[in-house]
């Protein structure tokens, strides 16, 4: 191997670029196969042109911000509620026995099943959509917090008992930090789910600004280039948030001795 190539190939950044570039190349290849393929696989050059256009007009940014806002509020509200419920279920057998069955059953009901009832209770505005996003973030955080709390080693709980921690202290010094790795995994899930739920609900019921709406309109117009840009934008922005949380996680879990 050439000497200059080796460090390049080792760089994390470049390694990470291999697959995306390969995907783009493959995409381009497919798009050149014919009319039919270029219907869904729009040529890269065309996409790029539309991207510049969307950026210049500010459309992309505007819709992106709207989606971000919904997703962020959903993640925050749903996530906090999830941590609370999951922590409660994990820490108390009684709560687990009481809430658990209902939660696990309801959790499996697809959101579409709830739509008539949600519409019935909360009408047709922005709130039901926020609720859907909240639920998307809620489930993984309940599950992961629960699991995190349950997997805290008995010996640490015993230390808490010896030091006579009150409920709050137990929560703050033992349960939360002990469950933190798992909670952070839950946040990672919740991040993606709430993001997906935001876009998905916009796609299905959008009437206002948002990437999903933009995509929906573009789909109606058969502007597959815009659809692809939206998909890529959704992915990339989601990835950006993922990186942010990953960084936060690394800081919060600095006490861990892992690989």
């Amino acid at each position: 191997m050439k000497a200059w190539l080796e460090p390049l190939l080792r760089s994390r950044f470049l390694q990470g670029a291999i697959l995306p570039l390969a995907c783009i190349a493959l995409w381009e290849l497919v798009s050149r196969q014919g009319k039919v393929q270029s219907y869904a696989f729009v040529p890269v050059r065309e996409i790029f042109g539309s991207l510049l256009e969307l950026l210049a007009s500010g459309t992309l940014l505007l819709n992106l911000l709207a989606t971000l806002q919904t997703a962020a509020s959903g993640l925050l509200l749903g996530g906090l509620a999830g941590i609370a419920v999951g922590g409660l279920m994990g820490a108390s057998r009684l709560a687990d026995a009481l809430i658990g069955p209902l939660f696990h059953a309801l959790r499996q009901v697809p959101i579409l099943g709830w739509l008539p009832l949600i519409g019935l209770w909360f009408g047709n505005g922005d709130f039901p959509r926020l609720l859907i996003v909240c639920l998307a973030a809620f489930h993984p955080l309940v599950l992961n917090t629960y699991e995190g709390v349950r997997s805290i080693e008995q010996r640490y709980l015993e230390v808490g008992a010896v030091l006579r921690f009150g409920r709050l202290q137990r929560l703050r010094y033992v349960l939360l930090p002990g469950a933190l790795p798992s909670v952070l995994t839950g946040v990672m899930h919740g991040l993606a789910f709430s993001w997906i739920a935001t876009v998905g609900s916009e796609l299905l019921f959008a009437t206002g600004p948002g990437l999903g709406g933009l995509m929906q309109t573009a789909q109606a117009a058969s502007r597959m280039d815009v659809v692809v840009i939206c998909v890529a934008g959704i992915g990339v922005v989601g990835y950006g948030m993922h990186l942010g949380f990953a960084l936060l996680g690394r800081y919060l879990l600095r006490w861990r001795s892992v690989r």
């Binding site: 009319k35 459309t59 819709n63 739509l115 519409g119 047709n124 009437t207 573009a218 109606a220 502007r223």
Partner: protein, 335 residues
């Protein structure tokens, strides 16, 4: 008269557009010009548009009517029949004109030229949506049934992809059909534009029966606005502007223009809010179809769903009685 009304809620199909909510059809004009808002304001009533996403208009509006969270709604034919057959009563206040076209598209290379050629083939059709009815009337006219085909239940986006990929032999579409045709991916072999086949997909203004009965004066104001909008749109000089407004739905103006061009129904006549025999016939058919397809358990008497008095009054008030020609022989109006 009844208790005091503070707000009138009208559900209408809406699209996200440039970061704002855009309405379609008459609502776009009414909302854009602020007509209804002003008129209601004079009565001390607030107007609230309730946007419903295009993907689930029927179900959302029906639920909203049942829940009394809206007073009026502009939406399709089949859902209102379903709603009424389930005991939630609504009234057709202002007919929506002659309606939108439904198209049958086949892949570019297909040899099929009529629906009969497609017998036994695979057709993409989104079940339960308003255009299903138009399509079944086509089948009926040709002595065919849905069960003569392999129906692939696909939403319009998936249907377009499936047609492009050659996974289906035909695709029942709205004006998106032109997008496929323009790209050379599909060919339109039939549409409701054809002269002898007036089975366009309808959408009209409906009002909750309770509300209309208790507050006819408010219903009148609303009807006035819709008739006025129909009149405004139907004038040739406003056609371009209307198409521009409608393009907010994402459908490019070119497809919209194609949708309206070459139709057996002229532009002006297309928007006539007429309670004519064709309308009554249409709804009878819808109810019959719904019953046959077991979408409902008992068919409502559709003629009783029409409340023509508001349109009549509106035409008079707006002095449009002769605009669309002589008032047609009205069907038995409700009550």
């Amino acid at each position: 008269a009844g208790e005091r009304v503070e707000v009138v809620r009208i559900a209408t199909v809406a699209y996200p557009n440039e970061g704002r909510t855009a309405y379609n059809g008459a609502a776009a004009v009414i909302a854009g010009r602020g007509w209804l808002e002003k008129d209601l304001q004079k009565l001390g009533i607030r107007l609230e548009w309730v946007p419903v996403p295009v993907q689930s208009v029927g179900a959302s509006v029906n639920e909203a009517f049942a829940n009394r969270s809206i007073d009026f709604a502009a939406y399709g034919d089949l859902p209102s029949v379903i709603l009424n057959s389930n005991g939630v009563e609504t009234r057709l206040i202002v007919p929506g004109g002659k309606g939108n076209n439904v198209y049958l598209v086949v892949p570019e290379g297909s040899a099929a030229t009529s629906i009969r050629d497609l017998k036994g083939k695979r057709i993409a059709l989104h079940r339960g949506r308003p255009w299903e009815f138009s399509f079944t009337r086509l089948l009926e006219a040709n002595g065919l049934k849905l069960s003569d085909f392999k129906i692939a239940n696909l939403n319009p986006q998936a249907g377009a992809a499936a047609l492009a990929a050659g996974n289906v032999d035909a695709f029942v579409a709205l004006s998106d059909a032109f997008l496929l045709a323009d790209r050379g991916l599909g060919r339109i072999i039939w549409s409701t534009k054809l002269p002898d086949q007036g089975w366009k997909m309808r959408a009209e203004l409906w009002g909750a029966k309770d509300f209309v009965e208790r507050h006819p004066e408010i219903a009148q104001v609303v009807a006035n606005a819709y008739v006025r909008a129909a009149h405004w749109i139907s004038r040739d000089e406003n056609a371009a502007e209307f198409i521009r407004l409608s393009a907010a739905s994402g459908h490019p103006e070119s497809t919209l223009r194609q949708e309206y061009a070459d139709d057996s129904v002229g532009w002006k006549a297309r928007w006539e809010p007429a309670f004519d025999a064709a309308l009554a016939d249409h709804y009878r058919h819808v109810a019959g179809y719904a019953l046959d397809a077991r979408l409902i358990r008992k068919a409502p008497d559709t003629d009783r769903l029409f409340d023509a008095r508001f349109v009549r009054a509106a035409l008079k008030e707006l002095q449009l009685e002769s605009y669309w020609g002589a008032p047609p022989a009205a069907p038995r109006a409700g009550r």
